[in-house]
Subunit: 201 residues, 2 copies
DNA sequence: GTAGATTCCCTAACATCTTTAGGCAAAATC
DNA sequence: GATTTTGCCTAAAGATGTTAGGGAATCTAC
């Protein structure tokens, strides 16, 4: 009788979004690798099998995490790009990604997971992020047919730098990675400004 | 009596290197995620606890995999850079990384694992790879103090592109990612050639 | 308002994987 | 040839993922 746990009032209800949100907190705090159904169940205060009422298993949880991260990233990108163009836009978008990775390392890792089943939500968020890069390029002399290559370049630089920095690959050596970040974005800006002269030989 | 398994002659002996090599094969074939002590033990024909005579557990196995991959990458880099300089060297080093990722996706993934305990072998291999990038930069007008930034740029571009391509992020859309690769390396070459004009404002 | 359907969480059970403890036989050492 | 060492084994325990099925609270419909 002592076990008359009145959880009903302290815990409003459980749903897929709440579970994924908890997983996101865990990922940011302890690393994506530590996210498991067990850990999430402990965190939300239910038994593991109960989670199966809301999602289909580990894979589904990871897909939800990836979709959440990409959506948040896309939302920040939209806000950052509003009213900006050219170099300003490039810097703003790049900083969005870098700052997101710093604030939410676990989610950012999830956003980069490329082995997750593609859902419609995920596809949509991914498309938004890609479109933002394309939008930035409109401020540079990049032709329609060259755009794909430029988009891939920007994506590569952003992902590579942010990932290496987050992983500690740049150590804490002098000069700081922040200085390198400025140089890298400068270099990218320069490349894009003179893109038309790179064109197909 | 029927169980007089004469394994001794068909299986020479087991050691750490052989175990890690088997793990590398599994990683390339089925993905790094699928590599486990169980899978490796099955593949080499022993029981799981037997592996503990040769390595300390899962973490140690992963560290071994990372060290193996980085060492192989460094070996290829040395061979590719011999006798080359400037743009030739840049293209050669970049292709080494891209081709290694295509030939050995699992090992490449392991090479990029940034959450593995740093051993001396691993540290040495990592240093060799970093030194190769620095060597390439000697063919460009990059000052001593600017070198760090340029190294970080090159590392970011390579890692970002190769990872995105390996993950299928560039899809199979036209134009092919191979074309983008050429453009990206061209752009990188151009940036490095004019690096001296980027310098600190 | 109450009967029935649905929802949501539970326990039980099983498979897989990691790790530790301890045994046994072959190989190496003296 | 006796002893120590080596390398593999079985046994066992703990963690995780998944499925099956039960029971109570909530919702729906008369």
């Amino acid at each position: 009788m002592t076990g008359s746990t009145p959880r009903a009032e302290e815990r409003p209800r459980l749903n897929r979004d709440a579970i994924v949100a908890t997983a996101a907190e865990l990922a940011d705090g302890h690393g994506l690798r530590q996210v498991s159904l067990s850990a999430v169940a402990r965190a939300v205060g239910v038994r593991v099998p109960s989670l199966y009422s809301h999602l289909q298993g580990t894979t589904d949880l990871m897909a939800g995490l990836t979709a959440l991260a990409l959506t948040e990233l896309a939302d920040r990108g939209d806000r950052a790009l509003a009213g900006r163009s050219g170099r300003d836009a490039l810097v703003a978008l790049a900083d969005v990604h870098r700052n997101y990775a710093r604030e939410h390392p676990g989610r950012f890792e999830a956003a980069g997971a490329l082995d997750v089943p593609v859902t419609d939500v995920l596809q949509a968020a991914g498309a938004r992020v890609a479109e933002q890069t394309a939008a930035v390029l409109r401020g540079y002399p990049v032709s329609e047919e060259e755009q794909v290559h430029a988009v891939r370049l920007v994506a590569s630089v952003l992902r590579g730098f942010v990932e290496l920095e987050a992983g500690g690959a740049f150590g804490h050596r002098r000069p700081s990675s922040g200085e390198s970040w400025t140089r890298v974005i400068d270099a990218l800006d320069g490349t894009l400004r003179s893109w038309s002269s790179i064109g197909p030989t």
